[in-house]
């Protein structure tokens, strides 16, 4: 009887252990996870999936006027079924929509990744060089999910000058 009771505790321990593993796999691993790669200037910034889980965070980056910002949006479908969603990317300023960057439907098979790329040209947002900094919000809508990235557009204060060749 004592042996049976002792073994019962062992089985309960094992049940708790496998329950933990199952929770981590089902709740932690399975699902839809998106990663955004932003290249402004020469740096590529990676916005990991868990960034958006922390209290509605907004990512910020900066770029000089005249340059382009390259975006790569990767959706990781860790489910046993395929995933379909409409992805709409738009630019906003002061609560008003400035323009659309991408509007596309993604279809990702089970345990596969889908990718979208687009470019934001600062000269299209502001045709002439500004005298002050401006902020624009890039909003990525994927179904009910919304991601916001603030892009600070700075005036290019020191344009490159041709260096005169010294006489020989």
């Amino acid at each position: 009887m004592a042996t049976k009771r002792t073994n019962l505790f062992l089985y309960l321990t094992l049940a708790c252990f496998f329950g933990l593993v199952a929770i981590f796999i089902i709740d932690g691993y399975l699902g839809i996870y998106d990663t955004v790669y932003v290249t402004a200037g020469e740096y590529e910034e990676e916005i990991e999936p868990d960034f958006w889980l922390r209290h509605d965070r907004t990512w910020s980056t900066g770029v000089n006027w005249g340059e382009k910002v390259f975006f790569r949006y990767e959706v990781d479908n860790r489910q046993f079924s395929s995933y379909t969603a409409d992805v709409d990317v738009s630019v906003w300023h002061g609560g008003e929509k400035v323009g659309d960057l991408v509007s596309q439907q993604v279809l990702i098979s089970a345990f596969d990744k889908g990718q979208l790329e687009w470019t934001m040209d600062t000269t299209e947002l502001l045709p002439t060089q500004p005298e002050q900094s401006y902020q624009y919000t890039v909003i990525i809508d994927r179904g009910e999910i919304e991601r916001k990235i603030i892009v600070s557009l700075s005036p290019f204060l020191y344009p490159p000058k041709a260096v005169p060749v010294p006489p020989r």
Binding site: F9, T13, C16, L20, V21, I23, F24, D27, G28
Partner: protein, 58 residues
């Protein structure tokens, strides 16, 4: 008997290492309910393991 203890300890350490790895990688993606259930299961696991060793006379 010694070999049995060593293998038992080795197995427990490996299991804990596996749980630790899963926790380090995926705990940030868990929901609030998932985190609470994990906490309860962890407490239960160590509690029942302690009772098991107590039953063995350790």
């Amino acid at each position: 008997m010694k070999l049995e203890f060593i293998l038992f300890g080795f197995g427990v350490l490996l299991c804990l290492a596996g749980i630790g790895y899963l926790a380090a990688e995926y705990v940030k993606y868990l929901s609030e309910v998932g985190k609470l259930v994990c906490l309860l299961l962890t407490v239960g696991m160590f509690g029942f393991l302690g009772k098991y060793f107590e039953g063995l006379g350790w």
